[in-house]
C-alpha cells in the first residue's frame, strides 16, 4: 500500500493532471471563434493588451471593481497559494537555505523561510475559510452552489490543514528525508516514502487534488487565460482584403444552415 501511495500514485496524479489540463485546453482551442468578442474599450497596442491581461489575471481587476471583500479573500487566497507552492519548490530543494542567495546566513534563511511559509499558509487557510463561509452566507451564491463547489474548497482545505499541521505542531518532519524522496520521484527513481503518517496524508491529498483538478471548475486556472484572450482580441478592420477568420476555422463552424459555405 505504501509502495502504491509513495512510488506509483504520484506518477498517476502528475500524468492525469498534465494530460487532463492539456486535453481541456485543446478542446477549447480547437473550437473556432467565428466572431471577435472584443470587450470595449479595446487595447490598441500589444503593450496595452499585456497590461489589460495582467490587471485582470494578476490583480483581479473585475473583482476589485465589483466587490472589495470578495476581491480581498480571492486575491489573498490565490497569492498565498502561489507563495506556498513556490515555497515548497525552493524551500524543499534548498532545505530553507534559499535566502543565502541574497546574503543571509543559513540560520537566518531557514528562519525567514519558516516565517514566510507559516504566514502564507495561515493567510491561505483563513482566505479559504472566508470563501467557504461566503458560499453558505450569501443567499444567491448558496443557491447557485453545487456539492462540487464545496468539495473543491474542502479538498484544498484538507491539503492546507494537513500541511499546517506539520508546520505548527511539534511533529518533527525530516525535510531532508522528504527532499531525498522528492528527488527520487523527480528523477524517476522512486524510493520508499518517509514513513510519517501526516506527511503521507498531506502528499496523498495533493495527488488527489491534482487528479481532480482538470475535471472540476479549478480548470479556470487555464480557462481564465483562454477566456480573457478572446475579450482582448483586436476588433476587425474594414475593408478586409481576405476573410481574416476563414483560413483556419470558418470551415468548422457547424451552426450555419445549409452547410458551411459562405
Amino acid at each position: 500500500m505504501l509502495y502504491f501511495v509513495g512510488q506509483v500514485f504520484p506518477y498517476i496524479a502528475a500524468g492525469v493532471f498534465l494530460a487532463g489540463m492539456a486535453w481541456r485546453v485543446w478542446t477549447w482551442l480547437r473550437v473556432p471563434t467565428p466572431f471577435p468578442l472584443t470587450l470595449s474599450p479595446a487595447s490598441r497596442t500589444l503593450t496595452e493588451r499585456a497590461i489589460t491581461f495582467g490587471k485582470e489575471l494578476a490583480l483581479f481587476r473585475g473583482l476589485w471593481a465589483g466587490d472589495r471583500g470578495l476581491w480581498l479573500a480571492a486575491w489573498l487566497m490565490h497569492v498565498s497559494l502561489a507563495m506556498v507552492i513556490g515555497g515548497h519548490i525552493v524551500g524543499i530543494a534548498t532545505l530553507g537555505n534559499e535566502f543565502t542567495a541574497i546574503g543571509l546566513t543559513s540560520e537566518h534563511s531557514q528562519a525567514l523561510s519558516g516565517v514566510m511559509a507559516t504566514v502564507s499558509g495561515l493567510i491561505l487557510l483563513v482566505a479559504l475559510l472566508v470563501l467557504l463561509y461566503r458560499r453558505t452566507a450569501i443567499p444567491e451564491v448558496k443557491r447557485l452552489s453545487d456539492p462540487a463547489d464545496y468539495f473543491d474548497l474542502l479538498l484544498i482545505l484538507s491539503v492546507v490543514v494537513s500541511g499546517m499541521h506539520m508546520r505548527l505542531t511539534s511533529i518533527e518532519v525530516d525535510i531532508a528525508a522528504i527532499r531525498t524522496y522528492m528527488a527520487g520521484i523527480m528523477s524517476f527513481q522512486p524510493i520508499p516514502i518517509p514513513n510519517e503518517g501526516i506527511f503521507i496524508s498531506h502528499f496523498f491529498l495533493v495527488n488527489l487534488l491534482l487528479i481532480y483538478f482538470p475535471f472540476s471548475k479549478l480548470v479556470h486556472l487555464a480557462g481564465s487565460i483562454v477566456n480573457r484572450a478572446m475579450l482582448i482580441a483586436p476588433p476587425p478592420v474594414y475593408p478586409s482584403a481576405t476573410n481574416m477568420r476563414s483560413n483556419s476555422i470558418q470551415s468548422n463552424v457547424q451552426m450555419w444552415r445549409g452547410g458551411n459555405q459562405q
Binding site: T33, F35, E140, S145, H220, M230, P236, Y238, T242, R245
Partner: protein
Amino acid sequence: MKPPMHVAKDSEVALIGYPRIPEQDQQAAFLKKLDDLRVSMRSLMVMLENCTKCGNCAKQCHSYLGTEDYNNFPAARAELMRRIYKRYFTWTGRTFGRFFGAEDFDADTISKWLTYFYQCNECRRCAKFCPFGIDTAEVTIAARHILSEIGIMPKFMQGIAVNMNKTGNNMGIPKPAIIDCAEFMEDEMREETGLAIKIPIDKPNSEVLYIPSSADFFTNIDTMIGAAKLFHYLGVNWTIPSTVLEAANFGLLFNVNVMREQNQRLKAAATALGAKLVIQGECGHGWRAAKMYTDGCSGPVSFELVHILDYCDKHLDKLPLKKLPLRATLHDPCNYARAGEIIEQPRRIMRACVEEFVEMTPNRDENYCCGGGSGILMDEMMEIRMKLGKKKAEQVKALGRIDYLAMPCSICKAQIPAVMKHYGVLDLPMGGVMDLVGKAMLLGDTK
C-alpha cells in the same frame, strides 16, 4: 411556467423558415443544436466550463437588481444552460450528475429558457466584472438561437423577421412610403433652412451608403435630419438603400442564421452600389452586428465601415456648430460602450453642441443598460421592462435638472421614454446625438 411574452404560433414560425419541431422530437433537436453551437463558438464552451460561481456578477446586473428574480442573476441565468450542457456534453456531468450541477432536460426547460433568456439585455456588463470575463450575452445569444432553431421564439422577433424579408426594414415600410418619408423630411429641412437638403434613396453612383435605423424614418426623424444636414454640409455623395433601410439586425438577438442573412444583405447593397464607405446610423446592437460580425458572416468586404458618430466626430472641427443652451447628458448604449468602440466620440460631439454636458454615474463602459437591449421591446412585457429600466431611471434622477437626454440607439429611444414616465421623470426631452448636431448646425436661414 408561462413565458411572459407572446410566443409565435406554428404557422408564424413556419412563415420565416423555422418550423416548430413537434414536441416529442424537441429534446433531441434541442440537444443537437446545443451540440452544434458548442463546437462552433469557443466562447460558449469556455464560458460554460469555467464559472467558479463567485457571485460577483449579481450586484452588477441591472436585470437582477431590477427584477430581484434569482434566475436573472447572470451566473444563474447561464446556469440554465450550463446544467444541461454538463449533463449531456461533459463526462463528469454524465457520470456524477447532480454533484457537478448537471441536470436533465425536462418539460420545463424550454419555457424557463424562453422566460429568462429574454430578460437578459445582452449588455455585457457582467463580462466587465467577471474575473474571467464570462459574457452572459454569449450564452443568451446561443440560447435564443437554439430556441428559434426549433421553432420557438417571441412573436415580436418573428414579426420583425417577416417585415425584414418583405421590405428590408424592421418597421415594414414599403419603398413608396420610404420615399414619402424622405420627401417629408426634405420639406421640413427646407422650411427650417431654406436649403434643398436631400435624403436620396437608391441614388446610383453614390460613394457613400448610409444605413439608418428604420425608426429614423418613422419616430426618430430628427436623427435622420441631423445625419442629412451633416452629409449636406460636407458635400457627401450619399444614398440610402431601400433594400436595407435598417441598421438594426434582429438576427443577432434571436437567430444567428438570420443575423448572417441580413449581414450579407448589407454587403450585397454596398457591392451593388460600389460604395467605398458604409456609414451605420444610430443603432446599438446593429453597430455591433455590422462591426464585429461582418467579417465572420460576409467577409472579405471591399468597403470601409464606420459609425455615423465616428464619422461626425472626425469632421467635428469643420462643422458650423452653435452650442445649444442645454444641460444635457448621455446614455451610453451597451453595444457602443462595451462592444463597439464608440465611447468618446458622442461625448466630443455633445460638448460641441450643448453648453453643459454632464455625465451620469456609472458611465462609459460601465453604464447600465436601458432595459430594452437585445430587442426586449414587447408591449406585453411592459412590467418587466420597467423593472429592467429601474437602474437607468435612478441614474437619470440622480442628475437633478437636465434638459436633454441623448441616447444614440433606436432601442434605447423606444425604451427610455417609457421608463422615465414610469419612474416619474416627466417633460424631459430625449433623442439621439445626431438630433443635437442637426439642431446646433447653422445652415442657410438658421445662420
